[in-house]
């Protein structure tokens, strides 16, 4: 689906850390190869982008921080938060954390 990302399937079941330099499957890589493009396309088509976090082996805070912080910097925190839906039934606290990362980008920039 155009407006759906399942990280475990579309990116990696073992997401890594923040930057590409840190190792494979970083937050930076996820943002640049998948998230940015899919969000841009969803915005264009006036669709809501659903991101499914379930099914992975686990996320580092730095991975999520890098991906969603950059998304908010590029598109604006409100635009991002209004146009994404996050599924995280295995680790529900991650949704609140991601919201923090998004609005923190607004506070810093």
């Amino acid at each position: 689906m155009e407006n759906f990302i399942k990280i475990a399937k579309d990116f990696s079941a073992t997401p890594g850390a923040r930057y590409r330099n840190d190792g494979r499957f970083s937050g930076e890589e996820f943002y640049e190869t998948i998230l940015q493009k899919k969000f841009e396309s969803a915005l264009k088509n006036k669709l809501n982008l659903t991101i499914d976090l379930d099914g992975t082996y686990g996320f580092a805070t730095s991975f999520l921080n890098e991906a969603f912080n950059r998304l908010a910097i590029d598109f604006g925190a409100d635009t991002v938060w209004k146009n994404i839906t996050i599924i995280s039934s295995e680790e529900p606290y991650l949704i609140e954390e991601i919201k923090e990362y998004i609005y923190d980008a607004q506070a810093t920039h």
Binding site: A17, D22, Y57, A60, S62
Partner: protein
């Protein structure tokens, strides 16, 4: 006059005999040594040579980070100290008297051995005489890093030590280990997102913060399983600068924390998220608080952190100042049936 001359002659004769004896003894010694080495492999010959000229160091009788931290870190500090001595070309580690050896201590020893090898120092050693200690050493995965004999019964083991270098966070490498650990504790290879997340945080901390720009980062993860007690112990080691030397402590905080309080309290404060990341970006520096969160939310148990000269036991919420500084950070924790169960396949 004659007596004096006789005495002198006698003395000369005695010296001559002594020299002859000594030469004979030396020749005999070389002969026996040659005979001893006959039929031995090149590796064994090299071992004997290395042992002869090496600096000898004894491991503590109870070699454990948890049970005997002072002695364990004293030994590691002495071992690492050889790399700063230009005249030392080989080191021989004697484990003969070890009656107890923990997997964490073994991983620590490997990290020190690697450092010595990196500067060209040859390292060899002896097995513990104690059967249980020897068996633990053989089962630990130690011999994946150094050459040595592993008995057939100890070849198959669930214990492992992995080392990753250089400068890499390898989440894919640790994922199967988490599954194995869950299998030991819960009987099925469930995923455990918190444990995986914890391991990535530690690897990321090592790569991003633990080392100066001119020193490359390495980390070691040792996992040992106790199937009868359904318990898995983890030890994560980095040989970086240690948490206390890498914190982004602001000037005002420095005055507050460095002059008014101790190193122990600084380490505690770091896990409470009181200091930012060394990268100085907002909302960073969450790695250490996340490690603590894993423990407080009972995803892991018995967390102990040793950084520089401080040992922080999270279970008893106590810190202990060690006599010998450890260059780096060492995390120890356990996964057992009392931890929050994750039953997602």
């Amino acid at each position: 006059m004659r007596t004096w001359k006789n005495k002198q002659k006698r003395r000369q004769y005695q010296t001559h005999v002594r020299e002859l004896k000594s030469t004979r003894r030396r020749k005999l010694w070389i002969k026996t040594k040659r005979q001893k080495l006959e039929g031995k492999s090149l590796k064994q010959r090299e071992f004997y040579e290395a042992k002869r000229y090496a600096e000898h160091i004894n491991a503590p009788d109870e070699f454990s980070i948890n049970r005997n931290p002072n002695e364990a870190f004293k030994f590691i500090a002495s071992l690492k100290g050889y790399k700063n001595r230009s005249n030392v070309k080989a080191v021989f580690i004697s484990l003969r008297k070890c009656t107890y050896i923990s997997n964490g201590a073994i991983a620590l020893m490997i990290s020190a051995i690697k450092e010595l090898k990196a500067v060209g120092i040859k390292v060899s050693g002896s097995y513990p005489l104690d059967k249980a200690a020897r068996s633990k050493l053989e089962k630990s995965g130690f011999f994946n890093f150094v050459i040595g004999y592993v008995s057939e019964e100890n070849e198959i083991t669930l214990n492992t030590i992995i080392q990753q270098g250089v400068d890499v966070v390898d989440s894919a490498a640790v994922a199967p280990l988490v599954l194995k650990a869950m299998n030991v504790v819960w009987g099925q290879p469930f995923r455990n997102q918190r444990l995986q997340s914890l391991l990535i945080e530690l690897m990321a901390n090592t790569v991003n913060h633990a080392f100066t720009s001119n020193k490359r980062s390495n980390w070691y993860l040792s996992i040992s399983s106790d199937q009868s007690q359904k318990k898995v112990s983890f030890t994560f080691i980095d040989n970086g600068l240690g948490i206390n030397r890498t914190l982004n402590v602001k000037f005002v905080e420095k005055i507050k924390y460095l002059f008014l309080t101790s190193e122990e309290q600084i380490l505690k404060a770091a896990f409470d998220g009181k200091f930012g990341s060394r990268t100085k970006e907002r909302k960073r520096g969450r790695g250490l608080p996340n490690v603590k969160k894993c423990f407080t939310e009972n995803y892991i148990s018995n967390l102990v952190v040793i950084a520089n000269n401080v040992k922080f036991d999270f279970k008893s919420d106590t810190t202990q100042c060690l006599q010998y500084e450890f260059e780096g950070t060492c995390y120890y924790w356990e996964l057992d049936l009392n931890c929050v169960s994750w039953k997602i396949l």
